[in-house]
């Protein structure tokens, strides 16, 4: 049995992987199968492209998501798919790595795209390398070919009304040697930066914590959110870690990214490279951010930003 198998921990991410898998399944003349963490998702996944949905048993309260690894491994051995795509969230990455190890197959983690060699049924997968400076192309010499794909790399699969498919329950029971003894929600101080259409990013060009208000004011005029580069969150702790962008932080895809006093080190740029428009304000005309920017103003942010806010208010009638 061949096929394309997808697994992600959320509904949205599963729809994105279905989109990634749909063309593959068509080109390989094979079927697209999705795992689901509950019956309620089955029909929706089918309408979005899955030919078959495998519903996993619910986790017990004390089981972490990784408990699905033995179950997934068993199903993969039975189904023997050509390709296995896993949603690369923090937990998904771990699951993918463990699966690859159990199945003794190759995994392209953090895959950002692929092309298919139809004849050889071979995926040429791409991922960022050297902290985002380069793109590495890899092929998997074993089967199944595995890739883990971050959220929002692909758009969700489109809805097709009237599609039909099979739903099957996987009877295998999740198991993990780790037991969860308690879960406490982390206090979220901010909104989800990855959802923002406009992001004002705070960089080291800001002199003190109070000045972040300037970025906040700019974001407010535009109806955007404030994010930052890694040092602002991790070293200075001026903003929560939830909002720093970069290779180890959030990967964002806003319509407009405004880097204010952001130098534009490659680790940061990797997190913002999918922005539609990048606009940078920096004192240093040689700052690498200008290489990554559509629009740039060379100037002191303490002079530029207040003028920008005033001009925006005029232009947007606010």
């Amino acid at each position: 049995m061949a096929g394309i198998l997808v697994f992600a921990e959320t509904r949205e991410h599963t729809l994105e992987l279905l989109n990634a898998g749909m063309n593959l399944a068509r080109d390989l003349g094979t079927r697209l199968v999705s795992f689901a963490l509950g019956n309620e998702f089955a029909q929706e996944y089918i309408r979005h492209g899955a030919g078959e949905v495998l519903v996993l048993q619910p986790l017990a309260k004390d089981q972490p998501l990784e408990s699905y690894v033995p179950v997934l491994a068993q199903v993969v051995r039975e189904e023997d798919p050509d390709v296995l795509l896993v949603g690369a969230t923090q937990r998904g990455k771990e699951i993918a790595a463990r699966l690859a190890s159990q199945l003794n197959t190759g995994l392209c983690s953090g895959c950002i795209g692929f092309e298919l060699d139809k004849e050889k049924k071979l995926l040429r997968m791409e991922r960022l390398f050297f902290g985002g400076l380069a793109i590495q192309k890899v092929i998997c010499t074993t089967r199944p070919q595995m890739a883990s794909i971050s959220p929002r790399v692909f758009d969700p699969a489109p809805l097709v009304e009237g599609r039909e498919g099979k739903v099957r329950e996987v009877s295998a029971v999740p198991f993990s040697a780790v037991t969860v003894i308690s879960r406490t929600a982390r206090a979220r101080e901010t909104v989800d930066i990855t959802e923002a259409k406009i992001i004002v990013s705070v960089g080291r060009g800001f002199e003190k914590k109070e000045d972040v208000k300037l970025a906040r004011d700019l974001a407010d005029v535009l109806g955007g959110e404030v994010g930052c580069s890694r040092p602002i969150a991790e070293e200075l702790r001026w903003l929560p870690e939830d909002v720093y962008m970069g290779i180890s932080g959030k990967k964002v895809k806003p319509d407009l990214y405004i880097g204010v006093g952001v130098s534009g080190q490659i680790q940061h740029v990797t997190g913002i490279r999918d922005s539609k428009v990048i606009f940078a304000i920096n004192r240093d005309e040689n700052a690498p951010i200008f290489e990554a920017a559509d629009y740039g103003i060379v100037g002191d942010l303490y002079q530029v930003v207040p003028i920008l806010i005033e001009e925006l208010k005029k232009a947007l009638n606010k």
Binding site: G106, V277, I278, F279, E291, D294, Y295
Partner: protein
């Protein structure tokens, strides 16, 4: 088995005595043969290319008029409203 993040501990700076002492500690090299297993890579790199980005690199001045024309450009791009 526990994996830890860098934040779990701030490493201390060893004293000179400790640095010198470290040189005398035994070091055991574990080779692949000793493990008695083979590890064949399952991935093969077929190319490495520089990551490029298509950007317009337009520079504007810091005066109000120039900033105004930048705002017009952003409006035209449809990214602000």
């Amino acid at each position: 088995m526990i994996t830890v993040l860098p934040d779990i501990n701030a490493p201390r700076i060893p004293s000179l005595k400790q640095v010198l002492g470290a040189a005398k500690k035994p070091v055991e090299n574990i080779t692949l043969d000793k493990l008695g297993r083979s590890f064949d890579p399952c991935l093969q790199t077929i190319g490495v290319l520089a990551a490029t980005m298509e950007r317009r690199h337009l520079k504007f001045g810091a005066q109000p008029e120039e900033i105004g024309s930048l705002i017009s450009a952003l409006l035209k791009d449809g990214v602000i409203a």
